[in-house]
């Protein structure tokens, strides 16, 4: 006799997400970096900005910092993101 068991995981997402179409290259592009504001991210993003402008010839690199690193980016930041060609966000510590 078999045992029937129920799935304990979340299964309510009805919207499927897909990646945005990538850029061919970053030449002249506006790239935004969203920092969580932790001290350790500053050196890393400085280096990244250098790389983006010098090696990949990005047109402009915009840096924004979340007010609270434990919550999602604020509405104002999300409005800004729509003006960028590419955004870089991630967990930094």
């Amino acid at each position: 006799m078999t045992i029937e068991v129920l799935d304990p995981t979340y299964d309510g997402d009805t919207i499927s997400f897909k990646y945005a179409v990538g850029l061919e290259n970053l030449k002249g592009a506006t790239v935004g970096i969203i920092s969580n504001g932790k001290k350790g991210t500053f050196h890393f993003f400085n280096a990244l900005e250098d790389l983006l402008t010098k090696k990949y010839k990005a047109g402009e690199v915009i840096r924004v910092i979340k007010k609270n690193y434990s919550v999602p980016a604020e509405e104002e930041i999300m409005k800004e993101v729509k003006k960028w060609d590419a955004a870089i966000a991630g967990v930094g510590d």
Partner: protein
């Protein structure tokens, strides 16, 4: 009837391997969540499978009663434990708790659940011996259910959404019942505006407990100085930021407060006034680099004496106590809620 997807497996051992292989457990065996067992939990609480417990605000995930029930069965909960699981999770979903931050942080806290009121006795909870360990069945399985729910509904598995550097053993289960019978102090929930005789849960994003000992005085001030020393140590070694601290006081120390007519309020006041350090003290523990020019600035463990949660719990012998520090300052605030589901938990 349950609406979740189901699987037919050959036997008990196959169930265990299936759940482990899908990373749906905390590493321990689980009780198979059969449709009948899940239905029993929901029926006793008279809630439908689709009943909305709340919405996780960061990921907009709707948390339904059935999913909580499945995980509660897996943790070993009986139907009568389920209302406390629902209420605890509902409290965790309140905005001040900041559930996503608390469970995703490298800081590695666990969710501490503190139970007050008549429901403790109805469910055989024990706030005495081994209060912070696996003191009894009910608190153990309720605490475990909370962790399994976080893992399975919010992906708070190690290395997934849970980015804890270390975590702590409370992540398996961290639920205690206050020892209301052996004290004349007000229960924690009542101090936090829950009416007398009403069962309630308090949830706190909590670091690991730090045990203190002082068997060599009967002075309330001196006993509290030991607790305060540990809080100040947390501020020096871990985080200087103020937040909800909990202190757990067992009977051997409680008796000295009670004989001196010290209430929880007196305790909170004393700790509020004394748990303070200057930023320059970071230099004593290797953190000179971040003292800067604010060395003389004073930091308090509590910005309000009500931020201290004083809990009567622990076995009868031993001059021990515990300080449970907050995850990280006031980013997450403790939340207290009355038990709103249909257990017979009115005043005795």
């Amino acid at each position: 009837m349950p609406v979740s997807k189901s699987y037919n497996l050959d036997n008990y051992a196959a169930v265990q391997e299936f759940f482990h292989s899908h990373n749906w457990t905390d590493g321990l065996p689980v009780v198979p969540p059969t449709p009948e067992a899940v239905k029993d939990l929901l029926e006793l609480s008279k809630i439908s499978p689709e009943h909305l417990i709340g919405i996780e605000p960061v990921r907009s995930r709707a948390i339904t009663a059935e999913k909580l029930a499945i995980n509660a069965v897996m943790a070993g909960c009986l139907p009568e434990h389920f209302p406390l699981v629902c209420e605890s999770f509902s409290a965790m979903l309140k905005e001040p708790f900041l559930l996503h931050g608390a469970t995703a942080s490298t800081g590695g806290c666990a969710v501490l659940v503190i139970i007050n009121g008549p429901v403790r006795k109805l469910l055989g909870m024990n706030g005495t011996f081994n209060a912070l360990g696996s003191s009894d069945r009910a608190t153990t399985v309720i605490g475990r259910a909370i962790r399994l729910i976080l893992c399975n509904l919010l992906d708070a598995r190690p290395g997934d959404a849970d980015r804890s550097t270390l975590g702590h053993p409370g992540k398996f289960s961290f639920c205690i019942a206050e020892d209301e019978e052996n004290t004349n102090w007000l229960p924690l929930a009542e101090e936090r505006d829950i009416p007398h005789g009403v069962s309630a849960v308090t949830v706190m994003a909590a670091g690991s407990p730090r045990q203190i000992m002082n068997e060599w005085t009967t002075s309330p001030e001196e006993i509290l100085d030991t607790f305060v020393a540990e809080i100040k140590s947390c501020m020096r070694h871990y985080s200087i930021w103020h937040g909800n601290y909990a202190i757990v006081i067992p009977p051997q120390l409680r008796v000295h407060f009670e004989e001196s007519r010290w209430s929880k309020r007196n305790i909170r006041r004393y700790v509020f006034e004394h748990a303070r350090i200057k930023r320059k003290e970071w230099s004593d523990c290797g953190k000179t680099a971040v003292v800067g020019n604010k060395g003389e600035k004073e930091y308090t463990a509590l910005t309000d004496e009500n931020h201290l949660l004083v809990v009567a719990a622990g076995g009868p012998a031993g001059g021990f106590g515990a300080v449970i520090p907050p995850w990280f300052g006031t980013k997450s605030k403790a939340v207290t809620q009355p038990l709103g589901l249909c257990l017979d938990c009115g005043p005795e």
